[in-house]
């Protein structure tokens, strides 16, 4: 094997085998050493190190070739072995590294460096409940990604790092707002009309509060994604897929410190280009003309806006609202530190992270800060008893202005260019609406909204291997998590300045400052806390007989949670300086609170068998009980089976294929999983308290039916079929994996829309009636190549396609077939189909048209041909904001000390509705303004200037505004330089790396003015980030 030590990202999961290997090697070593029977004369000593990092390697297995004599390296990587003479050879082996045999050739002291193993497919995946397994022994559809691959993405939000990197996983990053910039993750697309969120399991605890977004990527050892029925080990919560996150743990060795510091800069990926004052005013005149009014401004006056620099800046404005409201870039800073190490009996890893992110706004009230620590501890109490204690704490500190980001960006887009955001003297101008001027409303001048979330996650485990029965062990895990939420909304009045044109005796304008916002400061404080307890016990037995390998697991788990909330409100504060409840007025004060609870109880089992890794079988069964469902229906059973056949182990196949396959396995799985993310207690007939009714001047309580119970409510079930193959060719250089899936989701909780006349007076309870089929494929290809000793390249390509189709929806009869939901994807909408633009009256008169249509209006197609345009002419469009195609391309190269890594992501098949709030209410996008229909520009592609919702085509959803969002973007880019070891060792460092990373640096899309992942087609959301970070990472 040539020296192929491209450190990233192909040797993923090398740490896990290293840990596992250490134990095996230790055991082996002890056995071997105790059985030394030869006379040995000469001592050979040395040190074993990692060839790339220079770290010493403990527990490396050393064998005197041709004998059973061996030893292992100690914690410092040193070894000593007695040999009969110095003409022997020693073989050094360690899992995750290339095995190397070195002839002593007379030396009694030799230092050896081991290369990390470059066999692609040497992945290890986590499949739930403690099972860490070789990729090769998996017959289900599981993807995995190593933590270190995620660290290079310049985002503090882990959820933004996964899409496109894991085949079959799509993410929609709908916001760049500090503290809310996560991605909505879908595994193999949407599959249910209900909740499509996958289950997140963090260190063995399902649905851990806080999710994966805010986990320190540097703490992540690996992430495994269970995509098919092999997720059935999580039974009723597995139908949307399962993401398993394992955090890093300590390894034996001297303490190793790693410190990372990054400084980043970010800005919106796209800022809409809006019309300038002259264009906007011209369009306002058009609105007047189209209404039959005389235009409100003369051409002469508009000309002044065209020559704005010659005009009085107090009177004539050409405001770029985005420029007034947003900085050129905002800062993000992040620092992490970790120390890990251990000895034979105690291993530890402790990490810290702090980060802070500013928002795009000038003088921003928005800031997100996070502080966290994680401490993972493992203790070998005896050879057979091991325990551990993990503790993690995190503070997420979100600060916002009292206006939402959606409102903020709504007003930036609406801002009229001929009106001032600020006056020439710098003081804020008048409002746009309701006191909102975006140059003020994003600042602390409007008060603050502070949200603190505290997460405390703790767990202990005890692992007992029964010494009398080889391969039998029991593991108990107890996790206790708490979340505290503190929310303080302090809304204070602020000052805006209007100007009526009056001037003082010097001719200086006299501004009229006036308070806006609430009349008096208002304080709302809320507290919420929840505790979750997860307790499980798992028994494992695994053994082998000749080439028959088998493992049996049986476990049970119980989860309980309970929470409560408390809130209070006061107003009438004399000062905006003291947000304290007791200082507010007693009038209109209010308070509220509530509590909730829940419990789950599960039993599960997994059986694995393989013959020589050639024929693989996995059987999973899980019995799930949940408080959500009625007694008697509380338990659901979720089985799955998967089989694999490793053709490459068959002699006939190797003969036939000429041995080009290093590995080829075909596999298939089928099973049932469930989705219990539904409202609890739907089986109970209960009443709910309402907001009351006013009698005699006071609010009296009110109570109404909360729901019509459905006593038969039960689990939503996914029948999941998967077939796929993995292959590795060209000496493990090229790896290819493809999976086809076909899922049928049944029992989706949905209402019988068709059956129930509304005179019933109640909403039908949800029943387990909905059926959705989802299908598609995902594939992943990786290739590794080295040129000489210094240049290595690596490419990974993933492509996923997921489509869904409603099989049963229970629609009322009589809906035109082109409007029905059945047979169409979920969450689609109805639109009038636009076929062009009316050019003249004659065309309007000769075409079925909306009453009152005029030239320049959009033509709606008379779909049903009845000569009139009405609601029956709407068609159902297949597109939703969620892409059907997702793809990722990772291209990396390393040359000597340089590493460069690019990650491209693409998506297709989604659409967004891009109608802006324009007209008298707000500005138009320049791309519309310059292409709009006018009598002089009789285009058939764009309508005339419209006024908010006055026009029928502005107030009725239609395909003109529905735009494809297909895109390809450079999601991340990393350029890193590792200082030469000779230099770093001089200053006492093991390793030092400088890096520049970028996110969303380039985007190619046909969508104008908006990010293709935009959450709001009207631009009313906090846009996605483009960021650039510089980082320094040192290890010592």
């Amino acid at each position: 094997m040539e020296h192929l030590y491209f450190q990233k990202p192909l040797n993923i999961f090398r740490h896990i085998p290293r840990i596992a290997g250490r134990f095996m090697a230790s055991v082996l070593g002890v056995v071997l050493m105790s059985s030394m029977v030869y006379a040995q004369d000469i001592e050979v000593t040395g040190t074993v190190t990692d060839a790339s990092s220079g770290e010493t390697l403990p527990s490396v297995n050393i064998l005197l070739v041709g004998t059973e004599t061996g030893t292992v390296t100690n914690l410092d990587g040193e070894f000593s072995i007695m040999v009969p003479d110095l003409n022997q050879s020693l073989r050094f082996s360690f899992i995750g590294y290339e095995t190397i045999t070195i002839p002593l050739q007379g030396r009694s002291e030799i230092d050896v460096s081991l290369q990390t193993q470059q066999v692609i497919g040497q992945e290890v995946v986590v499949t739930g409940y403690g099972a860490v397994r070789d990729r090769e022994s998996i017959s289900g559809s599981v993807s995995a990604v190593a933590g270190e691959d995620l660290e290079s993405v310049p985002t503090s939000n882990l959820s933004n790092t996964l899409a496109g990197r894991v085949s079959g996983l799509a993410g929609l990053n709908v916001s760049g707002e500090p503290g809310a910039n996560g991605s909505q993750i879908r595994i193999r697309g949407n599959a249910t009309l209900g909740n499509n969120d996958p289950l997140i399991v963090i260190d063995g605890v399902p649905a851990r509060q806080g999710g994966l977004d805010r986990i320190n990527p540097a703490d992540v050892e690996n992430i495994s994604v269970l995509k098919d029925a092999s997720a059935a080990i999580y039974g009723s919560r597995a139908a949307n897929g399962v993401i398993l996150i394992t955090t890093k743990r300590g390894r034996p060795g001297p303490p190793q410190f790693t410190v990372n510091v990054t400084q980043g800069f970010n800005q919106p990926t796209v800022i809409p280009d809006m019309a300038n004052a002259a264009t906007y005013l011209t369009m306002l005149n058009e609105i007047d003309r189209y209404r039959g009014d005389s235009p409100r401004r003369s051409e002469e006056e508009i000309d002044r806006y065209r020559n704005i620099s010659d005009q009085d800046p107090w009177v004539y404005h050409d405001t770029d609202w985005y420029d007034e409201g947003l900085k050129n870039y905002s800062m993000e800073t992040e620092a992490t530190a970790a120390v890990s190490g251990g000895n034979e009996s105690v291993n530890y890893r402790v990490s810290f992270r702090g980060l802070t992110e500013d928002a795009y706004y000038r003088n921003s009230a928005t800031r997100y800060s996070q502080g966290e620590f994680r401490s993972n501890l493992d203790i070998d109490i005896t050879d057979n008893i091991r325990m551990g204690a993990d503790l993690a704490g995190r503070l997420e500190d979100r600060n916002y202005p009292t206006q939402s980001a959606g409102a903020q960006f709504r007003f930036l887009m609406r801002g009229k260019p001929h009106e001032p955001a600020r006056w020439p003297d710098g003081s804020p101008g008048p409002d746009i609406e309701n006191g909102t001027n975006p140059v003020v409303s994003a600042t602390p001048a409007t008060g603050h909204h502070n949200i603190n979330d505290y997460y405390l996650q703790s767990s202990v485990y005890l692992n007992v291997e029964l010494p009398s029965v080889e391969g039998l062990s029991f593991r108990g895990n107890f996790a206790y998590d708490r979340r505290f939420n503190e929310d303080e909304l302090w809304a204070t009045p602020w000052i805006l300045n209007s100007w009526d044109g009056s001037r003082d005796e010097n001719g200086d304008p006299i501004l009229s400052p006036g308070p806006r916002g609430p009349g008096t400061p208002q304080l709302t404080r809320q507290r919420e806390n929840q505790q979750d307890i997860t307790f499980n016990i798992v028994g494992n037995y695994q053994n082998n007989y000749d080439s028959h390998n088998y493992a049996f697991m049986l476990g049970t788990e119980r989860e309980t949670f309970q929470g409560q909330s408390l809130g209070a409100y006061r107003e009438g504060y004399l000062s905006d300086q003291f947000p304290q409840l007791d200082l507010g007025s007693a009038e209109n004060r209010n308070n509220w609170g509530n509590s909730w609870q829940g419990a789950r109880q599960n039993f599960f089992s997994r059986i694995n068998y393989d013959y020589d890794q050639t024929y693989l079988i996995e059987l999973i069964g899980r019995l799930d009980g949940s408080y959500i469902f009625p007694e008697g229906d509380r338990y659901g059973f979720f089985p799955s089976a998967s089989v694999g056949w490793r053709l490459s182990n068959e002699d006939w196949f190797q003969d036939m294929s000429g041995s080009i396959f290093d590995d080829l396995i075909v596999r298939t799985s089928y099973g049932q999983t469930g989705n219990d993310q539904v409202n609890p207690y739907q089986f109970l007939g209960t009443y709910a308290f309402g907001s009351g009714y006013i009698f005699d001047g006071s609010i009296e309580p009110s109570l109404s039916e909360a729901r019509i119970p459905n006593p038969n409510i039960t689990w939503e079930v996914a029948n999941q079929f998967n077939a796929g193959l993995n292959m590795t060719v060209w000496n493990n250089r090229l790896k290819f994996e493809v999976d086809y899936f076909d899922y049928n989701r049944e029992g989706i909780l949905w209402q019988r829309n068709a059956a129930l006349p509304l005179i019933a007076g109640f909403q039908l309870p949800d029943e387990n009636i909905g059926k959705v089929r989802s299908y598609g494929f995902d594939t992943s290809t990786s290739y590794l190549h080295g040129f000489g000793d210094d240049l290595f390249i690596n490419a990974t390509f993933t492509l996923s396609y997921a489509e869904n189709e409603i099989q049963f929806f229970d629609e009322p009869d009589g809906i035109p077939s082109y409007q029905q939901n059945e047979g169409k994807p979920m969450n689609t909408s109805l639109y009038y189909k636009v076929t062009g633009v009316f050019q003249d009256e004659a065309q309007i008169n000769s075409t079925p048209s909306w009453p009152g249509a005029i030239p320049g209006d959009l033509i709606f197609e008379d779909v049903n041909g009845d000569g009139a345009i009405n609601a029956d002419d709407r068609i159902r469009d297949d597109r939703t904001p969620f892409p059907k195609w997702t793809s990722g391309i990772n291209l990396s190269a390393s040359y000597k000390n340089w590493d460069i890594s690019t990650f491209w992501m693409g998506a297709a098949g989604a659409a967004v509705y891009t109608q802006t709030e324009s007209g008298e209410i707000g500005n138009f996008r320049q791309s519309f303004a310059e292409n709009r229909w006018t009598p002089d520009n009789p285009t058939n592609d764009h309508p005339r200037t419209w006024n908010r919702s006055d026009e029928y085509w502005a107030s009725n959803a239609n395909t003109y505004f529905l735009n494809n969002t297909d895109y390809i973007r450079l999601k991340s880019l990393e350029v890193a330089y590792t200082l030469p070891g000779s230099l770093t060792s001089k200053i006492g460092l093991d390793r030092a790396q400088l890096s520049i990373t970028g996110m969303n640096l380039l985007t190619f899309t046909s969508l104008e003015d908006l990010d293709p992942e935009a959450a709001s087609g009207a631009g009313q959301y906090y846009p996605q980030r483009r960021s650039l970070r510089a980082g320094l990472s040192i290890t010592f």
Binding site: S512, Y627, L703, L758
Partner: protein
């Protein structure tokens, strides 16, 4: 060895022991919701259940008022609603412009939607099925609650009958297994069901309310007065005129002759009973007539209020019935020059229907009238409508720099003449060319004044103005209408003149068709924006004339002499001038009696006889094959 097995085995057993799985861990109940059994075995919770039903009563305090479907109002933010344009269909009933539900499609707020009305009816039936008076120490209270729920159910069926005609009568609690495919009951059966419920309520309730806001005997009788007046009207006795050939006329009116006379008599009798026996009188505190009329709402209405919905600033409506209208009405309806949103604005046609102070019909071709169209008018006009020049309340900081007094400026422009120092032309602050939030500017040039408290800074504060479901003036008018139809014109004039006396208007002495017109106009101006006009023009069958008119608004330009010593003073002393300098849009019609004032169309309207009744939604028709669609759809 044995020791080792024991040791390890014990650890495993301890883990299992600590775990001790048991099923009871899953036996949880919701912590914030009582079961149905708990509710109906607890008098306090049973009462709370009744309180909730009150919240479902449909009131008119919405941004989109029922008035926009009539010749009373035009909605600022969107063109005429589908119903007013005559293009409502069974398939777009709740899926119209702006997407869905109540915005513009069917008249009225969510509480007038078919399914929501039946949702409330279910509540009333649940009460009758489960209520246990024996639980109550206070038997009178239990009886009253029963009476209130009868009243509430009658209110809901009254809405259904008025909007849709005869409907399926549901007087049971359906469960999942019930046969819910009921046919429509006839118009008469539905009416009788309403009357029976109202009667059951009247028997159990007192004239004086147990608490302000609760139904009384007067409420139950007023309901009868309203629905009998409605059912006696021409529309339901002449279905062959507007629905010729309709296969099921019994669903939309009466098929036998002679019923109309009886119904007028019943209407007369119940109205008279209220007049004679009830504790009600027209609200009159003396003083300014405009102020007095406004105070019917601003001061609670006193003895005129028969049943009202009250509001408190601290009330935080939530959930499906979230009902912010009443407290944010001022923000939704007020002038943009006060940072308010325009909302449902009065049409020119309504303004024109207020008589002059001496009882003459207002006439744009009369130069005296047209010279100063807002002067010397029925005091109720000012109490109902904010018009150009109306002095409302001080403007908030900002706009107050331009207009320190607070007079409505819905003129297009104002300019000064007579001095080189004149500042330039500027737009009216409350116009659609205003520098202040002009997209919220009224298109008609008028804003709603009725129900709006002038003492509240509406852009950041809530008001506490009640909605009167029934007030005594309506009973007098119902009485007058019945007497007109029963040919007792003296009684009719007496009742109308009661109203006019209170309003500060001269008495009338008309008779015959003139009296009918006079009565209808009196009802129009007295009850404007109180959710009557939509039903009145239909039942009187005058909708083809009233509803076919486009909505119009005022078109004004102001001009004043500039006084350098009082640069702002002239602003409040302007004349309307439309001269050659002003580029008047072609659509503006100048007043025949005063070419310096114009009116112009705002939104197009069109009458379609189908909209005498709303359609039943296509989906509902398909869910229930027993249903018959209304005529002309």
């Amino acid at each position: 060895m044995i020791k080792s097995i024991l040791k390890h085995g014990t650890l495993v057993l301890v883990m299992l022991f600590v775990y001790t799985a048991c099923d009871s861990v899953l036996d949880l109940d919701p912590l914030d919701q009582p079961s149905d059994a708990a509710v109906w075995s607890d008098p306090a919770m049973s009462q709370a259940f009744v309180n909730d039903i009150y919240g479902d009563l449909a009131h008119g305090m919405d941004e989109v008022m029922l008035a926009i479907h009539t010749d009373e109002a035009a909605f600022t933010h969107i063109g005429s609603a589908d119903a007013a344009r005559g293009i409502i269909t069974p398939s777009n009933l709740y899926n119209t412009t702006w997407g869905s539900a109540w915005w513009t499609g069917p008249p009225g707020s969510g509480n007038l939607m078919w399914e929501n009305i039946y949702g409330t009816i279910r509540k009333t039936n649940l009460f009758f099925q489960n209520f246990d008076p024996a639980l109550f120490q206070d038997q009178e209270l239990a009886e009253q609650l029963i009476g209130e729920v009868h009243f509430l159910r009658a209110m809901k069926y009254m809405d259904l009958l008025r909007l849709f005609g005869g409907v399926p009568i549901v007087d049971q609690v359906f469960d999942l297994d019930s046969d819910m495919q009921l046919p429509r009951n006839t118009f008469e059966e539905t009416l009788n069901f309403i009357l029976a419920d109202a009667e059951a309520a009247a028997e159990r309730l007192n004239w004086t309310p147990r608490q302000m806001g609760r139904a009384t005997k007067g409420s139950a009788l007023a309901l009868q007065s309203r629905i009998l007046t409605f059912a006696a009207s021409d529309l339901y006795h002449n279905t062959d005129q507007w629905a010729p050939g309709y296969s099921n006329p019994e669903l939309i009116g009466f098929t036998q002759s002679g019923r109309q006379q009886e119904l007028w008599e019943d209407a007369r009798d119940v109205s008279l009973q209220i007049i004679n026996e009830g504790p009600y009188s027209l609200y009159d505190q003396g003083g300014d007539r405009t102020q007095n009329f406004q105070d019917i709402w601003l001061q609670g209405g006193g003895s005129e209020a028969i049943l009202s919905r009250y509001h408190l600033q601290e009330f935080e409506p939530e959930g499906q019935a979230a009902d912010w209208g009443p407290i944010t009405m001022g923000q939704w309806m007020g002038p943009n020059g006060y940072f308010l949103w325009g909302g449902s604005t009065p049409q020119q046609a309504l303004v024109d229907d207020f008589e002059t102070l001496d009882g003459e019909e207002f006439d744009w071709s009369d130069p005296d009238h047209a010279a100063d169209p807002f002067a010397n008018r029925d005091p109720r006009m000012e109490a109902t409508v904010m018009y150009n020049g109306y002095e409302w309340r001080p403007r908030p900081e900002g706009p107050n720099a331009t207009d320190p007094i607070g007079r409505i400026e819905s003129f297009q422009t104002i300019r000064c003449v007579g001095s080189p120092e004149c500042p330039g032309v500027r737009n009216g602050i409350d116009s659609r060319q205003s520098p202040v939030e002009n997209w919220n500017g009224s298109r008609t040039g008028y804003m709603l004044n009725k129900f709006i408290d002038p003492n509240v800074e509406h852009w950041n504060n809530d008001q506490e103005v009640p909605w009167h479901y029934f007030r005594y003036a309506e009973i007098l008018l119902n009485y007058a209408e019945a007497q007109i139809n029963l040919n007792d014109e003296d009684e009719a004039r007496w009742a109308i003149n009661q109203i006019r006396d209170r309003a500060g208007m001269p008495q009338i002495s008309d008779s015959g068709p003139d009296l009918v017109d006079r009565y209808r106009n009196e009802r129009r101006v007295e009850l404007a924006f109180e959710d009557h006009r939509y039903y009145d023009v239909r039942r009187w069958m005058i909708a083809p004339q009233t509803a076919d008119r486009d909505a119009y608004g005022i078109y004004l330009h102001a001009e004043y002499e500039y006084d350098p010593n009082d640069p702002y003073g002239g602003m409040y002393n302007y004349d309307y001038v439309i001269n050659g300098d002003i580029d008047v849009p072609a659509e503006v019609e100048l007043a025949p009696g005063n070419p310096n004032i114009g009116i112009r169309p705002v939104w197009a309207r069109s009458w379609n006889p189908a909209t005498y009744l709303l359609p039943i939604h296509r989906d509902e028709m398909n869910r229930n094959p027993e249903l018959v669609q209304n005529p002309n759809y």
